[in-house]
Symmetry: C2
Subunit: 430 residues, 2 copies
Amino acid sequence: MRRLDSRSADFQSQLAALLAFETSQDPDVDARVAAILDDVKARGDTAVVEYTQRFDGVAAQTMAGLELTQAELKAAFERLPDVQRDALVAAAERVRKYHEHQKMASWQYTDEDGTVLGQQVTALDRVGIYVPGGKASYPSSVLMNAIPAHVAGVAEIIMVVPTPRGERNDLVLAAAFVAGVSRAFCIGGAQAVGALAFGTQTVPAVDKITGPGNAYVAAAKRRVFGIVGIDMVAGPSEILVICDGTTDPDWIAMDLFSQAEHDEIAQAILLCPDENFIGQVAASIEKLLPSMPRQEIIRASLTDRGALITVKDLHEACKIANYIAPEHLELSIATPEVYLPELHHAGAIFIGKFTSESLGDYCAGPNHVLPTARTARFASPLGVYDFQKRTSIIQVSEAGSQKLGRIASTLAHGEGLTAHARSAEYRLKD
Amino acid sequence: MRRLDSRSADFQSQLAALLAFETSQDPDVDARVAAILDDVKARGDTAVVEYTQRFDGVAAQTMAGLELTQAELKAAFERLPDVQRDALVAAAERVRKYHEHQKMASWQYTDEDGTVLGQQVTALDRVGIYVPGGKASYPSSVLMNAIPAHVAGVAEIIMVVPTPRGERNDLVLAAAFVAGVSRAFCIGGAQAVGALAFGTQTVPAVDKITGPGNAYVAAAKRRVFGIVGIDMVAGPSEILVICDGTTDPDWIAMDLFSQAEHDEIAQAILLCPDENFIGQVAASIEKLLPSMPRQEIIRASLTDRGALITVKDLHEACKIANYIAPEHLELSIATPEVYLPELHHAGAIFIGKFTSESLGDYCAGPNHVLPTARTARFASPLGVYDFQKRTSIIQVSEAGSQKLGRIASTLAHGEGLTAHARSAEYRLKD
């Protein structure tokens, strides 16, 4: 695993090279996605079924054959072993409780002229949530996408999840049942994004599509952005651990593994001022790696994109963390309260040695759909606010229109927009 | 101007045809934009200066020659006629006051196990605001983009504004001074978007780019989305007026003009249950049009994309309005309180006959950068919240890690993610 030192003369360029990653703008992928989207728009169900047969190897001949009924979702939930069912319900409950705090409310105020100004908050009518299948199936993604929409008051939640070779995952179906999904289709890829964006004979057109997917899904979301809303273009998962050297090195190694096991291109980085501890973590990595079922993925990820970085002190670690703006940031130190105020850019911060990132992935409460690839500089975790929107409310009183009309008229004439000016002037009494 | 009637058998398809508008995905525009962005990324200042010379016809030889100093902004403000300066300051003050209501605050709570969960809100570090020049220069856009960023606490606000043939607009420069812009460059188009997204030797890279522009700007914003944040891909401006027939028809005609004068492809639509009143508005349009300086633009817009629509009643008008999800919605009726609750999708609602849309454009307080092309189904006006972002905070107590660790372990094993499970299990005591 790569070892870097912040005191190297070329550290900044090494770091930039480590982080460099172009998301989903491969021209080949983009061209194939564009063709699929056009086809889905033109041929609807027929096109989606054909692509699903071809890419996912499913036998269904119609879209109806790819829809999951509420009874099927419920049956999957009831079929689960008790321990899984209880875990799912407990996780859903905590996620729901946290997200209730995110609900936005409408507000308004009246100014001195009796003019009312405000903001009306409403839920989206219908949303689509994309749940990855393929390499790994993620019931937790169902909870993390559907529950915020449900809390926001979205009337219809349409789930899509690819089922390669027709294999349906009971935990995914059960999660859809627990989270309040309205309809679910066993489709994925660009064809599923197209079906949700344009609508087909069977799949209703939605107002927004959320949830992570592979490069095809990301490219398709980018293309339909504007026709529908999207949450973000997700890149590979990342974890940045800041450790003071007081946490068990095995714990830190496993925390790094927990992102690396997602994908060969996932990124796991450790920042630590203690060179000796970094050596211990490196030893733990070698010791523990052979015991991991996904050791090949983990090794590829750590070798190609991982790094153990020696820093001057924890303040410098915070500065580097702000530059990296990681999806997941573990602050595995004894005095987090000293350093937390220095951290500005991260999707989620996991504080203290008992907060492994994986607790947040499943059940702590906050969302696990988080901004990747340095986008935490400007983006936020998926939340209830992604399923609500605001409308400005302006009710100008007759008195207010006299004062505002003069200001608007002056500025409109200054912009050469006579109709704007005159429509304000019409409301003036003299 | 087109006359439609909601009772026609094919009304829904007529309406869909009227609204159909593909935003900024012209493949030619997109290819040219891609080439410009690549060039700006590779050659920085040199490329931006060359494109600016070529497209804007400016003489500057260096990027420094295209930067506006704070002294120049201040001088422009001081040069303004008193009435314009006062109007600008009054508008800025009202916009600032309204936007103060939008500031998000951090929050957290502690659960029964002592686990702390919350959301930390921080401002973006540096943003770019795009201010259109060209056909019309918009000082109000400077206020509407820069003030929310300033209220959010963004440390650096970088403005770009094209100055065709080197013509600088004092009102635009003065607005930048009033709104708290940090640096300003006389550049526009895709090259300006590229400079802000990638940074050049002179223009610092920003974290997000906001503000409307033409098709090239829109295509460039779509392409850099992910490297930086963007607000939205703006389409042509729109107004939908719902009138009960009690407002002066001249006022309604002028309100329709006030969007139509922006652009030949702007859209102005009236919904009214009173056929006779619609005839009066049509007469007002013909009477007033010859007196408008921008009558050719207005006529093209009204003819090609406008419509006067007879509806069954005002309840039906609200339903149609929700389908259209207009950027600007005027509710020019005597009893707006009855119908407001029925309206769910609009960028801004202008209530009562004294609230001309133009008052909102300049000085009522709310933002005039609004979702267009039916995106109000899922998008919101530009606001302070666009310049803040959230980070999830998770600090699991030792007691909490015992409970959460078991749930996470169960679900992680269910997803086949052993490292996730084991990193939670390491924190368990037994």
